[in-house]
């Protein structure tokens, strides 16, 4: 066995010792739980489901305030403004780069 092989073997031993020491420290820091504490006492899923359902109902109620749906309704005035802006862009296309810059 040459010197290089000896060094490698001693490094491997040192690493194994370190890993064992870390394992030992971890086991000391986190002792295993007793078997009666491994699972919750009651089934938590029905409570979580009820909570999700109530949150869903609240969100739906918030989005339909006073029975109005969230559908967007565009007024005639806004259509007129849109037409005006579109016409201006068609007649003066030079506006487009200025708008792009400031958008």
């Amino acid at each position: 066995m040459n010197q290089e092989e000896k060094d490698r073997a001693s490094n491997t031993n040192a690493q194994r010792n370190e890993i064992n020491e870390i394992k030992h420290l971890l086991r000391e820091a986190m002792p295993p739980l007793p078997s009666d504490q491994l699972e919750p006492r009651a089934d938590l899923w029905p409570r979580l489901r009820a909570r999700l359902d109530s949150q869903h109902t609240t969100d739906r109620a918030a989005s339909n305030v006073n029975g109005k749906s969230q559908r967007i309704r565009v007024t005639w005035f806004d259509w007129a403004l849109t037409a005006l802006a579109a016409a201006a862009l068609l007649i003066f296309p030079g506006i487009i780069p200025a708008l792009l810059y400031h958008f």
Binding site: T58, D59, A62, S63, Q70, I72, V74, D78, L81, T82, L84, A85, A88, L89, F92, G94, I95, P97, A98, L99, L100, Y101, H102, F103
Partner: protein, 137 residues
């Protein structure tokens, strides 16, 4: 659902200009490098890329913070923003020693009201919808 209202306002505010920036940057890049438009856009592109989306976010925060007192509609609130962005953009171009093309200065009297209209509509319908979606409208 009322937690972090300002953070949600900021995020809702930056959506539209951030998406639109993709189109604008593409248009500018094609104009500059494909059609060789002799305007050094890359020197001033930092304004639409960094300042505009952040200002939109901050402006939406300002809307949420001030709406109780001012009762201003979101469209009108948004239409005020070009009055800040316009001078800021001009200041930025002059600081960066960027010569504004002649056609842009001549077109300003038409471009200004169009910008107000576009901002009014975009804030009313797009930012307003986003505010509703994130639950701060």
């Amino acid at each position: 659902m009322n937690q972090h209202a300002y953070l949600r306002a900021y995020m809702a505010g930056i959506v539209v200009p951030t998406i639109f920036l993709l189109l604008a940057a593409t248009a500018f890049t094609i104009a500059r490098y494909v059609y060789n438009v002799p305007v050094p856009i890359e020197r001033v592109i930092v304004f639409p890329m960094a300042v505009v989306p952040n200002l939109w976010g901050l402006w939406n925060i300002f809307f949420i913070a001030s709406h109780q007192r001012t009762r201003l509609s979101i469209g009108i609130h948004g239409a005020i923003l070009p009055l800040i962005l316009g001078p800021l953009g001009i200041l930025m171009t002059s600081l960066l020693d960027f010569t504004i093309p002649d056609f842009a200065t001549h077109i300003f009297p038409v471009a200004a009201p169009v910008a107000l209209i576009v901002y009014y509509l975009v804030w009313k319908y797009f930012v307003g919808s986003l505010n509703q979606i994130v639950g701060i409208a």
